[in-house]
């Protein structure tokens, strides 16, 4: 299988024409923060809806000398992350890492690493639904018009109705935000905890939706403002009084898990690469 991939397919799987097209779409996305650039997404050898948008960005950007980290739920060893990393490795000559600080490109699903991105790093996010207005309008023709006219009343109304009915905004992950005071965008299903990391960040964030055929970006130092009201401010997930059982961290996003033996609820870091480094740091301090 590995042999076949190298023999039959181009470097980084996609043909050069496709890669160029994807890079052009990414450049346009960088020029218009938060705007969804349509592109003719290619079918890849992994499931459509399993990260093909992110993977197409990664494959069109990657080259010799790059170091790749792939995570799913913050986890390097999650099966789909492993599968994606293996595919990229098989058709390129890159190195891989679990240390987000070593990586030049990080492809991720549902999380942003805890250590802030540097300006020489790119974070590629896999996106299931790029359209923030899909929550209120199913038709693409309509949502495109709403963005063009910056008519965002329907989504604001949705948030307001949430407060009336439930006492708070009920959107959990994939919390919509405004990019550069112009386009509302979906940050992909990252927790609200990760959303502030996008605001005026040093690194480049690229978003790829393969099935929906859209690419968008949050370039460095872009204002990213979560949608909220003055009296109902944006809130991240609550982990008060909880700490990672492995590294003791109290300022990272925690997975809530149940101990197999005792059934007790415990917490541990979702960003496994960072957690491991913290544990090692703690040991060497002792």
């Amino acid at each position: 299988m590995d042999f076949q991939l190298l023999q039959t397919y181009n470097y980084a799987f996609l043909d050069e024409g496709s890669k160029r097209e994807i890079r052009r779409a990414a450049l346009k996305a960088v020029a218009i923060p938060g705007y969804q650039v349509p592109f003719a997404s290619r079918e890849l050898p992994i499931g459509r809806g399993w990260g093909t948008g992110g993977l197409q960005l990664t494959l069109s950007l990657i080259g010799d000398g790059d170091c790749l980290k792939v995570i799913d739920q913050g986890h390097d060893d999650s099966v789909n992350a492993v599968s994606i990393k293996k595919l990229v490795q098989t058709c390129t000559r890159i190195t891989t890492t679990t240390d987000s600080e070593q990586a030049t490109i990080i492809q991720t699903r549902h999380r942003i690493p805890e250590v802030p991105l540097r300006k020489d790093q790119i974070l590629v996010l896999q996106v299931p639904e790029p359209e923030p207005l899909r929550r209120v309008e199913p038709r693409e023709k309509e949502t495109k018009r709403l963005h063009a006219e910056m008519d965002y009343s329907s989504i604001w109304l949705r948030l307001y109705e949430d407060i009336v009915r439930w006492g708070k905004i009920t959107i959990g992950p994939d919390y919509p935000a405004m990019a550069n005071h112009r386009y509302i965008f979906n940050p992909s299903p990252i927790p609200r905890f990760d959303l502030p990391k996008l605001n005026r960040a040093a690194g480049l964030y690229l978003f790829g939706a393969g099935r929906e055929k859209k690419i968008y970006a949050i370039p460095p130092y872009t204002d990213v403002t979560p949608l909220a009201f003055e009296d109902y401010p944006f809130e991240t997930e609550h982990f008060e009084g909880c700490a990672c059982r492995l590294c003791g961290s109290r300022d990272t996003f925690l997975d809530e898990i149940y101990d197999e033996r005792t059934g007790e609820k415990v917490y541990q870091c979702s960003d496994t690469g960072n957690c491991r480094k913290r544990q090692e740091g703690r040991h060497s301090d002792e």
Partner: protein, 373 residues
Amino acid sequence: MGYVAVTGGQAAIETANSLTQWYRLKDSDRSLKVEDIEHQMRQLINRVMGEGGLYAPEYAAIAVKQAEGDPAEAAFLLRAYRSTLARNYYSETIKPEKMRVIRRISSSFKDIPGGQILGPTYDYTHRLLNFDLRDEDHRDALNQILDRLSIDPKHKSEKLTFQKVTDLLRAQGLVGNPDPQEQEPFDMTRQKLTFPASRSARLQALSRGETGAMTALAYSSLRGYGAVHPTIGELRVGYAEVAIAYPYDEKESLYIGEMMLTEVETINSFTLNDDGAITFRLGYGLVFGQNETKAIAMAILEQSLETKGKSPTQDEEFVLLHIDSVEANGFVSHLKLPHYITFQSKLDVLRQSQKISVEKKKNETRDFKGQEV
């Protein structure tokens, strides 16, 4: 037990991949021959080629073998392979009216010039399970069939071509479709489908749509959630020639082979569209291989999209974005991926909302009785 992240992902997926191979072969004493799948699983191959968007019977057969017969998985394999291929040439327009026909029927007319030709079809078989197939001997079975048909396999049969039934209607001014226009077709493999979609984009999306999904949607239109209930002007199955422009002289063309196609033209009521014209409107379906239900469904859906109304099949985004086998299967199955981060975030919202709700109830009781309960 909690939903705990599995570690050792690498080893786990390698084992899972090996187990798939093991389950494919473990209960038989020989491996299926690809050529047998190609020639004896004809309908499956047709379907997979159509939904995969690649006319390659042998590759489709390999895909079917690899996918253990799952048409969605096989179409996906073909599509993923196809997407890496360089686009060297565009064919010239294929002419189904010049097709070497193996089957052609019309349900609009009792008699059509050239006659109704049933050809290979299950339409008139009695659906009784044939237990003789258990021990079928290939040579014996073939000889028996040839005897019944009184065909000498060495004798070369004449090439059957027929004028199209709808041309008869057209000549009498009974058909009101706009005249064909020569324009570069949309290429949905190179551009994102945007809305409103051009007609060529619609037809392309339908032509590689998933057979079952399209049949269900077309059925909904026939049954009442829509306006289209056509008569089949003509359904033909046969081989059409494929040619490309000769690279050194654009006026010359180069024959590169033939492909089996099913073409359907349906006749629709003149009342469907409010354009005042009192003429029939033709619906059109064209698909790879012999896949008649899909071709009819395509003709129904494309006409349905030409009409205005509120039913699902009159909404082009609803139809065109949900009939793709690879995308629908991919996204529905992605729910098997871990979602514990998003779930944690939703759990957080739920707990906060519960807290608010409890406090609100407390306040309401207090207001009512003037004191805390």
